[in-house]
């Protein structure tokens, strides 16, 4: 079942199009990793989906129902983990969950049970009576997640939930995300950390300049850009300019870069230049090491957007 269906979404701020005819679908029970450089429109997309901002045109369906016609009903099924820690610092962890459970209509024994379960899920049961001001960064992040989970949303939107925390807390959160998926929650996960998306996402969407420019599994995305071969070598002698020119003149070579005794040769897909490159280098003194680089999500991202993911801050 399609949980999220966004069709031809446009959102303008003045003359700037934050979302420019965006199409996106998320299937039930999946984790969609949403990647994009700064200003790509990720936060605008999330806020549109959560009903926080009105779109200028297009249609958003959640759980098969049109968002703007059923907004209050649909909001009950969404949870948002905000980028910043947005919990009440003058309320204890338990009180925070009671508040957020309460505004979703939970009362009495049901509220108490959900609060206990959620505290246990994020590992904060023993800190239930403590104020968040006494928490570490990781614990605050876990409480931030708990506040979005207490009403058991079917769709959980996580906007960079692991920013600025220690690796142990990050692993805890990533494990929790996997558990939630196993329990049937559909998750939209945005992050600046490629490795997180590679680890947990079943589908990946890449946004740039208000468009979703690619979507698929990691393997599908890599396959789509696999039109280059990269050979990285460490040579014995400092490469001469003649050697670099000779490499550049090889059939299919697009780019040769050199850093001290390291050379990177980028060829068109299918050029199969490894033997030729090695032969030339051997004549010039020999090779210390050689590797044919395997493409990663970082390469996909760079190829599609022309930017690294952590160019600046969030959009």
């Amino acid at each position: 079942m399609t949980i999220v269906y966004m069709k031809d979404i446009v959102k303008r701020y003045g003359s700037f199009r934050a979302l420019d005819h965006v199409d996106l679908e998320i299937e039930e029970g999946t984790i969609l990793g949403l990647l994009g450089p700064n200003g790509a429109g990720k936060t605008t997309l999330i806020h549109s989906l959560a009903g926080l901002i009105k779109i200028d045109s297009g249609e958003i369906y959640l759980f098969g129902k049109k968002l703007n016609e059923n907004i209050m009903e649909l909001k009950r099924q969404i949870g948002l983990v905000t980028q910043e820690v947005t919990v009440f610092e003058d309320l204890t962890a338990r009180e925070n969950l009671e508040f957020f459970g309460g505004i979703y209509g939970l009362r009495g024994a049901e509220l108490k049970q959900r609060v206990n379960e959620t505290l246990s899920f994020v590992g904060l049961t023993d800190k239930a009576k403590s104020l968040p001001t006494k928490f570490s960064g990781g614990m605050k992040r876990r409480l931030n997640i708990a506040c979005a989970l207490v009403h058991r949303p079917k769709l959980l939107i996580m906007d960079e939930p692991t920013v600025g925390i220690d690796p142990q807390s990050r692993n805890y959160i990533l494990d929790s995300v996997r558990k939630l998926q196993q329990q049937g929650t559909t998750i939209l996960y945005t992050t600046h950390y490629m490795e997180e998306v590679q680890t947990i996402a079943s589908q990946i969407a890449i946004m740039d300049r208000g468009h979703v420019i690619a979507k698929g599994t990691l393997d599908e995305l890599i396959e789509n850009i696999q039109h280059e071969e990269r050979i990285e070598l460490e040579v014995v002698n400092e490469p001469t300019s003649e050697l670099l020119v000779e490499l550049e003149n090889l059939n299919g070579v697009k780019q040769v870069t050199q850093d001290s005794k390291n050379i990177q040769v980028v060829s068109s897909g299918g050029a199969e230049n490894v033997d030729n490159v090695l032969e030339i280098i051997k004549k010039a003194g020999g090779v210390r090491s050689v590797s044919a680089k395997k493409l990663t999500l970082e390469d996909v991202f760079l190829t599609l957007t022309g930017k690294t993911l952590r160019d600046g801050e969030e959009d």
Binding site: H47, A50, G51, L52, M72, E73, K75, R76, I78, G79, L80, T82, E84, T86, V87, F88, E89, D90, L91, E95, E98, F99, F100, G102, I103, Y104, G105, C147, A148
Partner: protein, 227 residues
Amino acid sequence: MTIFFFAIKRCFRNVMNIIFLCVLPILVILMPDEEWLPLPLGFQMYGVILLFAAGRIVSIMMDDRAKGILTRVGISPITHLQYLWQNLLAYSLILIVQVGLVIIAGSLYGHDLIHPFLLFVVYSLFALTAIGFSLAWFSLFRHKETAFAVLIGMVFLMAMAGGMLWPLDMMPELMQRFAMLLPTYWLAESITIVASQGDISELLIPFAMLLLFTIAFLIIGSKRRLA
């Protein structure tokens, strides 16, 4: 009513709020009677304390906005209006209870409050105006600290210009006319009517003006949305 109950709880989780809500009212009661004033000195100044107390507790909502908590509330099935009225109801209740306790304690302490019930109505109404004023005030600012710092000056200016700290007759005529544009003027006017044991009907205009100020402030203050 989740927001309402938690709003009450949160008002007493801050030391400064407790000072404004619990300690300063005791000073109001303990201040001496002055013959030249229509009411005991503390009660004459009580309006200023109400303005500050309202500023303190309404700023909790500003904190929520600044920290992005309202974004989270905005995604829940709670409307902007529900969030506002439940918070404002809680703040109003707290200040009205405070007014009631101050008047009862003042009477028990031995102050001659002339007509305690009418005084309760006057201060309760002004407490609502003070809450509306604070809401409107904080909607104009991005940072709580800046808003509160300017508010301190503004409250004293309003108290002085409105005739809460000295008789308006001492001021130039132009200033006296200008004072009518301030809610503090109508509070001072109400107190004078109560203290001079005037006809209750004389209070209608000051009450209507305080009510109008409250409505106007609430409309201005509620324009700033949840997220």
